[in-house]
């Protein structure tokens, strides 16, 4: 009797131990799903883009100047789309970098505690507005307004897209930059005040340089967000697949081309594969930006002695 109960107690303990291990294993497997999805995305993009790379050489594809996917014979030059993406995104940076960093400085340095409690949520709410709403705003309100104001032939152009995209990326830059500023230890400021520097001097010579790489992270991620943004540029940029000559030309960024054409491209055709090739290039570009941001922000944390 005693032996049996001892044995059953033992097996109960074993059961619990096995159960605990099983839970840990399950969580471990599930935790790898993010990696799996990322790898899955890369594989899908490569596989679906491969046929077009086999057909055309990579130089013609990436640097070809003409994107006429539905002509006979079609031309698959992605270059105008890449240029359009950078053209629009760089324009957006001109808007969101000063506004974003300025707002971050305001929240961090000037705002009272009460103001902080108002402005920070407002910035967050601005960030939560869906891109389709920005696109709609740009298309229905901003474009006609700018067309009249600037006397330009088409309201839907790179300039309007940049402005809309810039507004959209501003809260991203603000939040990340403000985080970076708030990590700067108080002792840095105190040291500066103690030698008679005023607030502005302390801010520009001590706090901003100390938060420098954190602010760089904000700019890189803002750029990454702008390049990857789809609906806004799809609706606002005008859609012409040509290399822009001025800010007021209509353009077709990479994301817009994918979104607009995928629905009509016959599955398995050259056009379909070419669109995946665009997505692959887009993915590589944003991946590089994200890795750069990761790298810079890690250096920032190490510099300020923050862990993780």
């Amino acid at each position: 009797m005693k032996i049996i109960s001892a044995a059953s107690a033992l097996s109960k303990k074993m059961k619990i131990k096995i159960k605990e291990k099983l839970y840990e294993l399950t969580f471990a497997v599930l935790a790898f799903s993010s990696l799996a999805f990322l790898v899955g995305i890369v594989i899908v993009l490569f596989r679906e883009a491969m046929p077009i790379f086999e057909k055309l050489n990579i130089g013609d594809l990436v640097f070809g100047r003409f994107w006429y996917p539905t002509y006979d014979p079609p031309e698959f030059g992605i270059f105008p789309l890449i240029i359009a993406s950078f053209w629009v995104s760089l324009g957006a940076m001109l808007v969101c970098v000063p506004l974003g960093i300025g707002s971050a400085l305001y929240i961090n340095e000037i705002a009272s505690k009460r103001q902080k409690e108002i402005f920070k949520p407002l910035v967050e709410i601005l960030a939560s507005i869906p891109s389709i709403v920005y696109g709609f705003f740009g298309m229905a309100i901003l474009a006609p307004f700018l067309q009249g104001l600037l006397g330009i032939p088409i309201g839907l152009c790179a300039f309007t897209a940049s402005l809309t995209l810039g507004i959209m990326a501003t809260p991203t830059v603000t939040s990340i930059a403000e985080d970076a500023l708030s990590y700067v230890p108080r002792s840095f400021r105190e040291a500066s005040y103690a030698v008679g520097a005023n607030r502005w001097q302390t801010l520009t010579r001590v706090v901003v340089p100390a938060a420098g790489s954190g602010i760089s992270t904000a700019i890189i991620l803002g750029m990454s967000r702008a390049i990857g943004e789809t609906m806004t540029v799809l609706m606002v940029a005008g859609g012409a697949a040509m290399i822009p000559g001025s800010p007021f030309d209509p353009v077709r960024p990479m994301t817009a081309a994918i979104a607009a054409e995928m629905g009509e491209a016959p599955v398995g055709g050259d056009h379909y594969h070419a669109l995946f090739a665009i997505a692959l290039i887009l993915f590589v570009i944003t991946f590089v930006f994200n890795i750069a941001a990761e790298f810079v922000s890690r250096r920032f944390r190490i510099k300020l002695g923050l862990s993780g």
Partner: protein
């Protein structure tokens, strides 16, 4: 003296930046509300579109968005919480932790349209779900997964180590501690993250372009495998397709106001909850 003038000018510029940023928020809300409010009525919210999208309501789009939100959350919330639990509670080896962390960060940076392509290739074609609620939900779920993971992680990390120790010290196993102490204590924080991601998912358009959305279906979707109308896609379609731009733009204003209100309310709730949460932890 000169440096004080510099300070004044500098602070002036910085303040202007802040005000411009905030005024964008109010401009967007203002314009959309002013033009959209006239369109919205009980009928607009509850009836089907009529006359080739130029009249009637947008009820199917609201319902469709609801399905997509529910579907994506059913997928992403358990997965996100499980990932966060593994990362914070089971403290894996640092290279494993870094690998997963970097994957999450990069997944968060993938352009939304790429999730649409992934969904198209995997869910629509490879798994044969077709253009459907389920394909769209899964694509949206992957997109929002990083957001849920980081919110859940933050919430779990905010649970004081001392109560984990207390639980282990009375002889609870690790799993018992996680299930009965840590996760319940982190629940409000996790919930805040979930609500934020609902706002995000409801407004996303690019991932559902080729995986779920359609401009028009008759009636309501009757299975996870049917196509749906969705508010954000509906706005896009109204603005770029169809033959009566004037009438369609008016309806688009209405849709936009509905979507905007939905997102603002949801993120407002999340921000409020988080504030309460934080003040609770500091108390």
């Amino acid at each position: 003296m000169r440096r004080n003038i510099t300070e004044k000018i500098g602070f002036g510029i910085v303040s202007v930046c802040m005000w411009i940023t905030v005024s964008f928020l109010f401009l967007i809300i203002f314009f959309i509300a002013v033009k959209g409010i006239g369109v919205i009525s009980w009928e607009f919210l509850t009836s089907q579109p009529r006359n080739a999208m130029t009249a009637g309501g947008v009820a199917p789009a609201i319902v469709g968005t609801f399905y997509l939100v529910v579907g994506s959350m059913m997928f992403a919330v358990p997965l996100g919480i499980a990932t966060a639990i593994y990362l914070t509670e089971y403290s894996p080896k640092s290279y494993v932790l870094n690998l997963i962390r970097i994957s999450i960060n990069n997944l968060a940076g993938v352009p939304s349209v790429v999730f649409g392509l992934f969904g198209l290739a995997i869910f629509v074609k490879f798994l044969g779900f077709g253009v459907s609620i389920i394909s769209g939900s899964l694509s949206l779920g992957i997109l929002v997964l990083p957001l849920i993971i980081s919110a859940a992680q933050e919430a779990l990390l905010a649970v004081p180590q001392s109560i984990r120790e207390a639980s282990l010290a009375v002889g609870a196993s690790k799993w018992q501690t996680i299930k009965k102490i840590v996760v319940p204590a982190a629940m409000p924080g996790i919930l805040t993250g979930v609500i934020l991601s609902i706002g995000r998912v409801a407004g996303e358009t690019a991932p559902i372009l080729f995986t779920a959305a359609t401009f028009y279906i008759k009636g309501y979707p009757d299975s996870p495998f049917s196509e749906v109308m969705a508010l954000p896609y509906h706005i896009y379609a109204l603005m770029t397709e169809g033959s009566h731009p004037e009438k369609q733009t008016a309806i688009a204003y209405g849709c936009c106001l509905i979507l905007l209100s939905l997102v603002l309310i949801v993120s407002g709730i999340a921000i409020y909850m988080r504030k309460r949460e934080r003040s609770y932890h500091h108390a």
